[in-house]
Amino acid sequence: MSSEADTLLEMRDVRIDGFADEQWHAIIKGVDLTLRKGEVLGLIGESGAGKSTLGLAAMGFARPGCRLTGGEILFDGIDLMRASERQKQRLRGARIAYVAQSAAAAFNPAYRLLDQTVESGIRHGLLRPEEARAEAVELYRAMDLPDPEHFGDRFPHQVSGGQLQRAMTAMAMASRPDLIIFDEPTTALDVTTQVNVLATMRNAIERFDTAAIYITHDLAVVAQMADRIKVLRHGEEIEEADTETMLSAPQQPYTKSLWAVRSIRKQAEGNADKVLELNGITATYGTRPVLKDVSFDVPRGRTVAVVGESGSGKSTAARVMTGLLPQIAGTVRFDGRDLPPELSKRSKEDLRRIQMIYQMADTAMNPRHTVREIIGRPVRFYFGKTGREADARVSELLHLIELDDSFLDRLPGELSGGQKQRICIARALAADPDLIICDEVTSALDQIVQDGILKLLMRLQKELGVSIIFITHDIATVRAIADEIVVMYQGGIVEKGPKQDILSPPHADYTALLLSSVPEMEVGWLDRTLAEQGQAAS
């Protein structure tokens, strides 16, 4: 054990309640946490495990609708449970800083980045304005931001997501805090961007010897950042160990199950007639081109994974196929027949045969419709079934997605994330489609829930013979379920072909970068990857 003097943060038996459904529930049920100076602790768990809540409690902060109910939080000897609001304000932004999940939302849209970066330093009286500005420029440089002298003159909407996330780390660093809370800082980024952001963040905390709590649900990421890892579930600690031990020899069954996800490995199948062919599709938003001469085929009863980072045109391709965005050149050939580009010119039958499932199941369902109405609508619309006949079909579909009739009269708000996405799948199946387009359908879900959804989709494909286009940025998912892969970048196709061809060398440059950027669950992966990518670039 380390000596007492080394301890920066000490949390003992911390309890936090959250208000939901008209009453208080325990979110954190007595968690201990100790952090030494300059140490990085990884906090890991599914969403709802209480990671962010615990991280914020380290700043003596409870979100609206939450309250700290018990335990002790000692930061460098200061008791944050008893400290006045004024005392806590003096610590926040000065000695403890926070890096939020979505930098795009956490920067105030009304101010230039520099003004926001220096704000806490100046407000807390740590630095004079001109010092703070010079310091900020230095930090921008340390964060590898382009044109550090003038970077801060821009507004948040004028720079990319990866740059914003680095700017936010610079903002946190600006007052030389003793502790930084990183709350899922790379979750919103593309993998290729994530690698660089992770590297700059780690270098910065090493350089200034800052202690950090790194919150994430991504094990591979935390393995690169943390000295120790603590696993949380339902507001309780499952286990804690140093990173290497935790990766190689997890003790608890829950931790092992986290480590074991993505066990699915679909054997790719080839040779089938084409259900859908895209030929030379070009599409624009206004005058801005978003798809340039995109062509690929979807074999019947197979899964085609379309991968690429945000802005690569994956979702736009889906919009063209469904007719939501008419292309300006090229054809969409479905079952041997060209589909009209405009949605309004397609027949009901055309519409029925191509269905879509969205990333955010929350917003894809009317919150005031029951499950019966949500799934029943396509049953009535496409097949004219009503009354008992429709109910029977809805019930059948529910069983198909491994839920039962007790869900019939529930509203979306009463369902978990995974259940909501299952309802969306059932709604797509209700049309008895030939092709389902899945647009990032698992991205918003926890890994274990993701696994369930992917297994379900694969089972359904086998039973019903439906073809699937699976749009994703997650290579692990692609590896798990694809038969064929299409790699997209900046509105064009980089590579396409059977899974084993694309995933094994030789790769196209971009594919290689994409594949190598996916964090792996081993210590030292980040350094190795940066070295390799550096070599490849030079």
Binding site: M59, P64, L91, R92, P109
Partner: protein, 326 residues
């Protein structure tokens, strides 16, 4: 050209187009007014020839579209025509220019509106911001309840209560707002105190509640949480981080209320016998004085359009995404 300037010019063009369409609506609406000025003046006993001659003199015998273009053409040159009133069957013409009639009344109305705005807008913003800062506190509840009760009462009722309190029981202010063109400023302010106070009570609630709601709506956003986690004081979080992002809805409500101060205060004018433009228009409608009605209506429409345009422009200019494109 900066895209903002182009947007503003576009809005300005659209505003003018709206005004043009509104002028057609006004003209047609006046056409549909029952009754006729000539008959109102000459009486039922007038011979057909007299009526025809009188109508000819006023230009009322022309077809509607010609009269419309005559009217709008003169308006574009700043000539709102001559009032019908002052003419009589005997042929004596003491009629006055519409501009001459409206100008002093409009000045009075603008004075009252301006005076009210100077009190009400800062007051509403202050109450709104502080209510947001201390939300759910006793202060917040009192402010909310207070403003809500004043807006819930009819304005004439508010006016009479104020007269009762501040003019009868405690004779601080006059109950009649007698002002003329040559009334000195101080006296003018004194005379207009009660009508202005009445209008303030009527419009403050709307603006205050929108300010409060717009700010509270932003308090849940991640950048406000970030500001808190930077250790900033509650006041700085609200004033510096929330308010600048809340201008768009607030400004729209302010514009709406300012427009109301110009075009909708006839009841208050009547209670305090304040010589504003609202009364003038009502009188003109009663006496079928078409040129005056049209001119008033056009001024009202222009006020609405102008203030809304201004609110739009402020919303655009306070949005950095539009002001500083990528």
């Amino acid at each position: 050209m900066h895209p903002i300037i182009r947007t503003i010019l576009q809005r300005l063009g659209l505003g003018l187009l709206t005004l043009f369409l509104v002028s057609i609506v006004i003209f047609s609406a006046v056409e549909f007014l029952p009754g006729d000025f000539t008959e109102a003046i000459l009486g039922q006993a007038a011979t057909k020839e007299t009526v025809a001659a009188f109508r000819h003199e006023l230009g009322l015998d022309q077809p509607a579209h010609i009269r419309y273009f005559d009217w709008i053409g003169s308006v574009l040159q700043g000539d709102f025509g001559t009032s019908f009133s002052g003419r009589s069957a005997s042929g004596v013409d003491r009629s006055r220019e519409v501009v001459e009639l409206i100008a002093p009344r409009l000045m009075n109305t603008l004075f009252l509106a301006g005076m009210t705005a100077i009190i009400a807008v800062p007051l509403a913003l202050f109450l709104g911001v502080t209510a947001a800062l201390y939300r759910n506190s006793l202060y917040d509840r009192i402010v909310n309840a207070g403003t809500l009760s004043t807006i819930s009462m009819p304005e004439f009722f508010v006016a009479y209560i104020l007269i009762l309190l501040l003019s009868t029981i405690f004779p601080v202010f006059p109950s009649l707002a007698n002002i003329a063109a040559d009334t000195p400023l101080i006296e003018r302010v004194y005379a207009s105190a009660l009508p202005s106070l009445t209008l303030t009570l009527v419009i403050v609630a709307h603006m205050m509640r929108m300010t409060r709601a717009a700010i509270i709506n932003l308090l849940a956003s991640p950048y406000i949480e970030m500001a808190r986690l930077k250790g900033l004081s509650g006041r700085r979080v609200i004033l510096h981080h929330a308010l600048p992002n809340a201008w768009a809805p607030i400004v729209n409500v302010i514009a709406f209320n300012l427009a109301y101060l110009v075009v909708g205060v006839v009841v208050v004018e009547v209670v305090f016998v304040y010589p504003g433009i609202g009364q003038l228009m009502v009188d003109a409608v009663t006496s079928r004085d078409i040129p005056v009605v049209q001119a008033c209506a056009l001024i009202f429409a222009a006020t609405y359009i102008l203030l809304n345009l201004l609110a739009d422009i402020i919303s655009i200019v306070t949005n950095p995404r539009l002001l500083h494109p990528r």
